[in-house]
């Protein structure tokens, strides 16, 4: 028996299949509860697609009735992404030799791209009014807010800032798009308004940068 082969009962680490039951990727996915987060994203997209179809099919409504779908679908997706950033071994992770920021960024980008794609498919047609562009913009922006929340108050409570923001602007936003509301109520805009896209992209960029740089704030036992 060679020395290399005697390191572990099942063989040297380098010989591991990356998709084997104990691969680092699989361990990482399990530690972040990624399967549950992915299932939540898929469930959110299915529920959003059903809700959008149901609202449009109501006699008194048309495609503009999809506003709740393009707001609350991305909100739930952002909550799933944000809570998925929680690590149960934060102190241990920070002792690693390799830099964590590329992995954090890849995790956030991967989950966000998946959520964006799923929710864009959930609201087809009428891109100008609460269609796929609005869903993409809101998913991006709210995921960024959740990522910033994870860095500042912890991943398990990262859903709180986007929920508070949406709760605050949902009833306060004016009925007509445009004006200053493009900026402060960006999540309520129908689609192509430039100001709303600027804020959403800025929120995602800032949130992703902050999370990649700092990681999720270590949660105390009480939080």
């Amino acid at each position: 028996m060679s020395l290399k082969g005697s390191l572990t009962p099942w063989g040297p680490l380098k010989a591991m299949n990356p998709l084997s039951p104990m691969s680092p990727l699989r361990l990482y996915a399990r530690s972040r509860a990624l399967p549950a987060a992915l299932a939540a994203l898929a469930g959110t997209a299915v529920a959003a697609a059903w809700a959008a179809h149901w609202l449009v099919s109501l006699p008194a409504f048309d495609h503009t009735a999809r506003l709740p779908v393009v707001v609350f679908g991305p909100l739930l997706a952002a909550a799933a992404i944000g809570t998925g950033l929680h690590t149960p071994s934060d102190e241990l992770d920070r002792t690693a030799v390799r830099a964590w920021w590329p992995r954090r960024l890849a995790h956030l980008l991967g989950a966000t791209v998946l959520a964006v794609a799923l929710l864009a498919l959930a609201v087809p047609g009428h891109a100008e009014a609460f269609g796929a562009p609005a869903a993409v913009r809101n998913t991006l922006g709210l995921a960024g807010v959740a990522a910033a929340g994870a860095a500042l108050i912890g991943a398990r409570l990262s859903w709180l800032p986007p929920v508070l923001f949406v709760g605050g602007v949902y009833l306060a936003a004016p009925g007509e798009p445009g004006g200053a509301a493009d900026w402060w109520a960006w999540v309520m805009q129908p689609g192509p308004q430039g100001g709303s896209w600027t804020v959403a992209v800025a929120a995602f960029t800032a949130g992703a940068t902050l999370y990649a740089w700092r990681g999720a704030r270590r949660a105390t036992a009480a939080s």
């Binding site: 909550a79 605050g168 936003a173």
Partner: protein, 440 residues
């Protein structure tokens, strides 16, 4: 030296403060933040709708009810759910099972912040909104019993969220519960069945109405009974004591039965005849509002003054502009509700309000087949020109009236006496019959 370091035998023993778990629970954790979040969220939403509710107690109560129900309720659910999962996150669930305090008492103490802080946030937002409304209301009082029922409903949702947090060990439970709670409450506002009055966010706005006296207390019994029943069913030990949960459940079901017997359209609201008495100014035409809007009378009269100056004394002109359900008389013209254009006691867009009033003055209902014939288009232009001449459409509002400009120019070119003569002939004509409409 030694004596100075030794405590005197006569010193009183140090007083040990009794532990106050409820006080500690209320002061720490997410509770105060949840209360602040509810207050800020409701106040931001109310601020965004400011001009719509700062005139009448019914308006502010109705909007607070919807805002608190739709925003405060889901937030309380989510925050309570998070608070409910605290012991599991701390890993102290089994430890709590070893203390002499009963499980029910521990549950009630730990659920207190989930229920009380969001309710306190609601009451704070209510107080601020009512104080902001007070200077501009004319009669009546705030519907405190309904606002108290809203606070109890939010507290109940917080307690139910707390239980959900204890029962479901999943990170996404709290935001999911909040969003599902919002969607459920929002759907309730769209339905027209009797069951919508059970919802803490049911919408109804009729300014000249009051609720039946028992609706507030019964609503409290409905929501609080449900929450208390759930808490007792979960926390009472030994198991046979859980039967006590049936008492608040029976209260809640009885309250729900009473609410479900309300009419589906107006629910608990009833017209209050004392609020519809007319109060008029001395102008011609008179401007009349109900006593509910007495403080608005001078602002509405002022907004309509330029229009009234052209209509004064003309045969066929309205005798009264009537706002709201005042006793109708011949010659009355109903005005649009001014509260939509009022900002803190003044008409913000007087030009728009005058234009709406003139549109209302000439809003005849023509029969099918009217407004036909060779002169129909000309009559339509003349009608538009007269409206535009009496109260020009604001540049940022309504259709473009440039096509009627030649007739407007002709009206402006006339002498005051000729203008009054033309307006008299126009008011005497039937605008639905194009041949009768006089050309300026």
């Amino acid at each position: 030296m030694t004596a100075t370091l030794t405590p005197s035998r006569t010193d009183a023993p140090a007083r040990v403060r009794a532990a106050r778990p409820l006080r500690t629970e209320l002061r720490r954790g997410l509770g105060p933040w949840a209360g602040a979040a509810v207050a800020v969220t409701v106040l931001v939403a109310m601020y965004g709708k400011g001009p719509q509710w700062q005139t009448r107690w019914t308006d502010v109560t109705a909007l607070l009810h919807v805002t608190v129900g739709l925003l405060g309720g889901p937030l309380a659910l989510a925050a309570g759910c998070w608070q409910g999962g605290r012991d599991r996150r701390r890993g102290t669930t089994e430890l709590w099972g070893s203390v002499p305090r009963s499980p029910l008492r521990h549950l009630l103490v730990s659920a207190a912040p989930s229920a009380l802080w969001p309710a306190a946030g609601v009451l704070l937002a209510d107080t601020v909104s009512l104080l902001a409304t007070w200077p501009y209301t004319s009669v009546g009082r705030p519907f405190l019993e309904l606002l108290a029922a809203d606070a109890v409903a939010v507290a109940s949702l917080g307690a139910l969220g707390h239980l959900a947090g204890r029962l479901v060990p999943w990170r996404l439970t709290a935001p999911l519960l909040g969003i599902v709670g919002y969607v459920g409450l929002a759907i309730g506002t769209y339905t027209q069945s009797e069951a919508r009055w059970l919802s803490p966010a049911s919408e109804y706005t009729y300014p000249w109405a009051r609720t039946v006296w028992w609706f507030g207390p019964v609503s409290m019994a409905w929501t609080a009974g449900l929450a208390l029943a759930a808490l007792l069913a979960y926390g009472a030990r030994p198991a046979r004591l859980r039967a006590f949960a049936l008492i608040p459940l029976a209260v809640a079901v009885t309250a729900a039965g009473l609410i479900l017997r309300l009419p589906s359209d107006e629910g608990p609201w009833r017209l209050d005849p004392t609020l519809t008495r007319a109060v008029c100014d001395r102008g011609s035409p008179q401007v009349c509002v109900t006593v509910l809007d007495e403080k608005l009378l001078s602002a509405v009269s002022e907004a309509l003054a330029p229009l009234n100056a052209r209509l004064t004394g003309l045969p066929g002109a309205p005798t009264r502009w009537a706002v709201g359900p005042v006793d109708p008389r011949p010659g009355d013209v109903e005005l649009p509700d001014p509260t939509q254009d009022m900002v803190r006691g003044r008409v913000e867009r007087a030009d728009l309000y005058r234009n709406s009033a003139v549109a209302q003055l000439f809003a005849d209902t023509c029969e099918p087949g009217d407004l036909m014939g060779p002169n129909a288009e000309r009559a339509s232009l003349v009608n538009a020109a007269v409206i535009e001449w009496l109260a020009p459409t604001p540049s940022d509002f309504g259709p473009d009236t440039a096509v009627a400009q030649p007739y407007i120019d002709r009206l402006n070119a006339k002498s005051p006496a000729a203008q009054r003569d033309y307006l008299t002939r126009y008011l005497a004509a039937n605008p639905c019959h194009p041949d009768e409409v006089p050309i300026p």
